[in-house]
């Protein structure tokens, strides 16, 4: 017999995996659109450190001259991205899953310790619930970013009809910059996410498909008599990322 925990509800797993191809399509079609006016760069004065994007990038991915198709795809998949995101937020809210997800008072200090632990600079990680402090911050941020993408996207899509939103996003041009920056944020999130999932291993990954996670090192059975006072802080067993 193995002790397991039902980690991810079915709805969360569905929405997680639906979001993956949908976001991929949004990013892809976004690139097709961005190509038509690719003015963003990182640099100072006339010095460009990083251009979005180098010609070789467009050539390799065959991104050029597909603006019309890119827009058609973007304004198709946007509904899936929006719908899936809304349902996820509603589900998380109503089911109470938000309790595991939102950062709490300790999260911001603990996230630092998690980071040090993950970089092998600290032996132990703080005790955690379903998600550790860094995950709580990351997974909550990504939802805030999703809202940001929808808000800035709508501001760019209908800057006259939603003029107030466009103004709120800092104007048309700035809304475009934010919309682009958020996308870069997703890509960076994705890279870290994949690395962490690989490092966390099979048990953790399986949970995102099957829903359950096997508890490897169950703490001492509670039915045993405890003659000595129990230490107040349990060492975390780091059951997964």
């Amino acid at each position: 017999m193995k002790r397991i925990v039902e980690k991810h509800p079915l709805a969360i797993r569905w929405m997680h995996w639906i979001n993956f191809p949908v976001l991929a399509m949004m990013i892809w079609s976004g690139l097709l659109i961005y190509w038509a006016n690719d003015i963003y760069r990182v640099g100072f004065g006339d010095t460009t450190l990083l251009k979005f994007f180098p010609q070789s990038f467009y050539d390799t991915l065959k991104i050029d001259h597909k603006l019309a198709g890119g827009m058609a795809l973007h304004f198709f998949f946007m509904w899936f991205f929006f719908g899936n995101g809304i349902i996820y937020v509603l589900y998380t809210w109503i089911s109470g899953e938000w309790r595991y997800l939102l950062p709490n008072r300790r999260s911001f200090t603990e996230a630092w310790l998690v980071l040090l632990h993950d970089l092998h600079l600290r032996k132990t990680a703080p005790p955690q619930d379903k998600y550790n402090a860094a995950q709580r911050i990351a997974y909550s941020s990504i939802i805030v970013m999703g809202f940001g993408s929808i808000a800035t996207g709508l501001a760019i899509y209908k800057p006259v009809q939603f003029g107030w939103l466009c103004a709120l996003c800092g104007g048309y041009e700035f809304a475009r910059i934010l919309h682009f920056a958020l996308t870069i944020g997703y890509v960076l999130f994705f890279v870290v996410h994949i690395v962490q999932v690989i490092l966390a291993g099979w048990n953790n990954f399986r949970a995102m498909v099957t829903g359950f996670e096997v508890i490897k090192h169950a703490p001492a059975a509670p039915q045993l008599p405890a003659p000595e006072p129990v230490p107040t802080e349990q060492k975390a067993t780091n059951e997964g990322e």
Binding site: I4, W17, A36, G69, A72, F76, Q161, G163
Partner: protein, 255 residues
Amino acid sequence: MKENKYKNGNARLSDRQLKRRTVVSFCFFIALTCAALLALIRIFSEPASADNVQPTLRNVLQGNERLFSKFYSKRRESKPFKKADADTAVRVNGDVGMDGELDTTWRLKVARAPGDTLIITLDDLKKLPKTEVVFDFKCVEGWSQVTWWGGVRFSDFIQKYNLVSQAGMNYVGMITPDGTYYVGNDMPSMLQPQTLLCYEVNGQPLPQDQGYPLRLIIPVKYGIKHLKRIGIMYFSNVKPKDYWAEQGYDYYAGL
């Protein structure tokens, strides 16, 4: 406390049950992944129709158009700017329909009804009240530029030339004199108070490359709808043909 659930677990499975649940879940997962891939392949491999976009995507663009037309209000204006904010080097991005010199006998032809065409000179238009609009011109490519335009407000033009019954139709079509560039705009957008039959930029007559003698300025649309060098104007209840929509772009292109 809830947290204990995550340290102790909340169920026990035999190795066989565990394996079974894993296999069943992964089979579902792989099946759904395949279904998603097939759906994507279907969208991407669907042949484009004559208007250069896949029918599925065109349907969604039209659905978006219906939805956002409902929200449209002609009272919402493109954010006005001061003339001093306008860029004097107005970007030239398109020259379709403007090959060759303009015929000196240019007149605006307004088809009121089949066989009933109104002929209007530039001087006639200049006698109407002039309206100036300074707004952030937005190109479908992604750039935008604050520019200053002057001309006759389209809704004023409709009143002065008694085209009120024509303005009850759904669309206005415009065609360049050589017939190679053409757009259609929905009537609510045409009647928005910033929409101009434009003959000036930066307080000067339009240069040739900006659509001399008369162009459309319609700030609630992307630049692809701002036809330069208007030759013929007509009214229709069905969508007039549109150059960029035929190239695969959204017909509505409304901002």
